[in-house]
């Protein structure tokens, strides 16, 4: 890389380059956190010490794994990379509203990653898990400040991003583009940023109180001095339950884009999906946090009330599922690697979502809480459904970003290793979770009968490691050397494909688009008519996407 290109990237304010930098940063976090996962599975694969005889090592890996996967991989990957790169393209905008603030956000994100990585070299790394519950996080000798500052940086970065993208969607849509003409991905991203904007300040204040309690001698969480141990947990989950939707919603949005394109179909019942599904989830998200505190000593009436609200999440989620399934109905499906991952998500969302239902019942969770059943539940929905949706999106938009295909035998091999591997890893954890295997355990002398299950899980973890190695190497190779892609290779109707050439330059569109009321990002049935309802892209876009004369 020459000095010139380095400078161009370092000082860039282009949303696409910032997007790629988010992709690189979040994938780096994913790789390091993934290595931690291997260490975790190795350690549990036999009774007694396996690769370390110091439980603190294990606790540090677990802290890093959880915090990095949620805060540095999933959230920045989905709301940083995908939103940055594709949202302006989908709404026909030339950039985001505040490009420099956008550049500031990415550097905050990199600051947070560096801080997180530094925790490997400091003497007493944080060991507070990604949840950071006091009093332990206050009394531990581990360096809780690293946890707090990492959360601060990421939170600040996200809040800035939220403001930026909400303004962008409100004011910078292509002329004529009405709310009901937005891509589902755009809607899910808007919803995710609304959640970030509303709830991140709560998390930020919670961890700031931790900092004050630990280092400045305040007593927010100290019952002996009139504080309250449970306050932190309430605040933490008041943010962190909505945070699972910050992940879940954009992941669904990506899938909708892929299904619509690869099915050449309109999204089934668009309005129910957007106003009932997406906004229904946003509406309920702030009233269910106590389901993470079912065994934490909450008042009984609150545990029952939030059991009902938690179960009711199935209504908006169900509406989104109906629309997703409905998009397959009477479709004309073609396949590529992105679609393969997307189809697997149809099943992962079932195993992940439906196992949330027993967990929603207070009386059932008294047995399952903090066991590997919960661990498997949220890995199915986050580590598999959401991460696989991201991988689907990377393959699907690869030609857009790099002008080359990443599909091929390596991609397919990676897919099968991943999908088989995750099931081999997590199905045993479901089973022993119901039998009582606790999570966050360095060792399990009291349950020797579970050892074979942990061994199976280890095999699965190594399959995924192999699958991810193949996948990531394939991406890197394909970005530089892959087969050159034609314009709009999947023949999508969505604006990022029809109006912006592959590897769009600054400004995105040769001809800034505007649309008529009858245009839709999913207008496959009358493709020519749909193209006629928007501006000429201004460059040759191949036989199928050519506008009608």
């Amino acid at each position: 890389m020459t000095m010139q290109t380095f400078k161009e990237w370092f000082f860039t304010t282009d949303h696409k380059r910032i997007g790629i930098m988010y992709l690189v940063g979040s994938m780096a976090a994913f790789v390091v956190a993934g290595l931690m996962a291997l260490l975790i599975r190795l350690e549990q694969s036999s009774l007694g010490p396996t690769i370390t005889d110091n439980p603190n090592d294990y606790n540090n890996w677990l802290y890093f794994h959880g915090a990095a996967m949620v805060l540095a991989f999933l959230i920045p990957g989905l709301t940083g990379f995908f939103a940055n790169y594709f949202l302006p393209l989908m709404i026909g905008a030339q950039d985001v509203a505040f490009p420099r603030i956008n550049a500031f956000s990415i550097w905050l994100f990199y600051g947070a990653i560096i801080l997180a990585l530094l925790s490997f070299v400091i003497p007493d790394p944080p060991d507070v898990m990604w949840t950071g519950y006091p009093p332990y996080s206050i009394t531990t000798t581990g360096n809780t400040a690293f946890y707090v500052f990492t959360v601060h940086l990421l939170g600040f970065s996200s809040v800035l991003g939220a403001v930026n993208f909400l303004v962008t969607v409100i004011y910078m849509r292509a002329p004529g583009m009405g709310w009901n003409q937005l891509n589902i991905f755009t809607w899910t991203t808007v919803a995710a940023f609304v959640l970030q904007l509303v709830f991140i300040p709560v998390l930020a204040s919670a961890v700031t109180m931790l900092l004050f309690d630990k280092y400045l001698g305040t007593n927010f969480f100290n019952p002996e001095a009139g504080g309250d141990v449970l306050l932190y947990q309430n605040l933490f989950w008041f943010y962190s339950h909505p945070a699972v939707y910050v992940i879940f919603l954009p992941a669904c949005g990506i899938l909708f884009e892929i299904f619509a394109t690869m099915c050449k179909n309109r999204v089934f019942n668009y309005k129910a999906c957007v106003y009932g599904g997406i906004w229904g989830i946003v509406g309920i998200s702030g009233f269910v946090w106590v389901h993470h505190l079912y065994v934490s000593g909450m008042p009984d009436w609150l545990r029952i009330g939030q059991m009902v609200t938690t179960l009711l999440i199935s209504v908006p989620v169900g509406l989104m599922v109906m629309s997703m399934w409905g998009t397959l109905y009477r479709a004309a499906i073609t396949f590529n690697t992105g679609m393969l991952y997307a189809i697997s998500c149809l099943f992962l969302v079932l195993s992940g979502g439906l196992t949330g239902i027993p967990l929603a019942l207070t009386a059932i969770t008294v047995h399952l809480s903090e066991t590997s059943f919960v661990h498997a539940h949220f890995h199915f929905i986050m580590a598999m459904f959401s991460a696989f949706a991201m991988f689907a999106g990377i393959y699907y938009w690869f030609p857009k970003m790099f002008g080359r295909y990443a599909d091929g035998p390596a991609a397919t091999l990676g897919f099968w290793l991943n999908i088989i591997g995750v099931h081999v890893t997590f199905i045993p954890l479901f089973i022993i979770g119901v039998e009582g295997m606790p999570r966050r355990y360095w060792d399990y002398q009291m349950f020797p009968q579970f050892e074979p299950y942990h061994q199976v899980a280890l095999v699965g973890a190594f399959m995924v490691a192999g699958g991810m190695a193949v996948t990531i190497l394939n991406w890197i190779y394909s970005a530089f050397k892959g087969k050159v892609a034609v314009e709009n290779p999947w023949k999508s109707c969505s604006m990022e494909w029809t109006h912006a050439p592959n590897c769009p330059q600054a400004g995105n569109f040769p001809n800034p688009p505007s649309v008529q009321p009858e245009w839709s990002p999913y207008g496959y049935e009358d493709r020519e008519g749909n193209m006629a309802a928007t501006t000429d892209p201004g460059y040759p876009t191949g036989p199928t996407a050519k506008p009608a004369e």
Binding site: P55, N56, N59, Y133, P135, Y136, T139, P223, E224, V229, L230, K264, N265, R266, F268, N269, K271, A272, V295, G297, D300, S314, V315, G318, L319, V321, M322, W325, G326, Y329, R330, A331, A332, I333, T334, L346, F347, L350, L354, I357, L361, T362, A363, I364, V366, H367, S369, E370, T371, E435, P438, R439, R440, W442, D443, Y444, M446, F447, Y524, E525
Partner: protein
């Protein structure tokens, strides 16, 4: 307004009382209730999962594109149809939700209503061990209970959060400084079971486990007598020094 709220609360609590779980002579055992409800839920979610999986597999197979430029013919819904396609599925999901809520609530009441005859044992959690206090300064580090006598554990912590978990009895509740929480269970068969900590509490979190022994009456008396002996011995050591 206030009177109305009062009436509603009364009516609701009346409903709770009337539920069969509290009928006279019913031998209460939340763990058995748990197993029962768990089976029902597994059936419920399996049915939903299978329906949607089969639908997905069928459609992905059935609607493969026959030619390169074929497009989908998904229905364009009329406003009424769109509303129906939202309200009908939503009602079905809600019906299932309320059905499960009702069952979950009933079982939860069982979990929280301590039987009058329950034996109270006080529990204190420390980093990283448990202490069980049977009253009269009789303490042990393993939990011993009499078969057939319901037990209520009143729990608190001396340092950080812990959580008391006995898989066999399907109970778990966090234990924290500054508050007292409780669980109760009905030990119906003798045996040795695991009790372990399930709230992350630092280095030796995974080693913070002990045994729950459910024993016959005679053995229980013997255990209590041993504790008394120990207490007496400890006291005499103390008074000598």
């Amino acid at each position: 307004m206030r009177a109305l709220t009062g009436k509603v609360v009364l009516a609701l609590s009346g409903l709770m009382m009337a539920s069969p779980a509290f009928a006279e002579g019913y031998e209460r055992d939340p763990a058995a209730g748990w197993d029962h409800l768990w089976r029902e839920i597994v059936i419920d979610i399996t049915v939903i999962g299978v329906i949607f999986s089969v639908a997905a597999i069928y459609m992905v197979w059935k609607y493969r594109a026959k030619s390169d430029d074929e497009v989908g013919r998904g229905p364009k819904l009329s406003p009424a149809a769109a509303l129906a396609w939202a309200l009908i599925p939503a009602s079905i999901f809600m019906a299932d939700d309320f059905f499960l809520s009702a069952k979950g609530w009933t079982l939860w009441n069982d979990y929280r209503r301590i039987p009058d005859e329950a034996k109270e044992i006080r529990v204190t959690a420390y980093q990283w061990y448990w202490e069980f206090d049977y009253g009269d300064d009789l303490v042990s580090e393993e939990l011993v209970v009499k078969k057939g006598e319901p037990v209520v554990l009143r729990m608190t912590s001396e340092d950080v959060l812990h959580s008391l978990y006995i898989p066999e009895f399907r109970v778990k509740e966090d234990v924290m400084p500054g508050r007292v929480t409780y669980v109760w269970f009905n030990p119906k068969r003798t045996g040795e079971f695991v009790e372990t900590c399930t709230e992350y509490c630092g280095t030796a979190h995974a080693e913070m486990y002990t045994t729950v022994r459910v024993v016959e009456e005679a053995e229980y008396e013997q255990f209590i007598n041993e504790l008394k002996e120990e207490a007496r011995a400890a006291n005499s050591v103390k008074s000598q020094s």
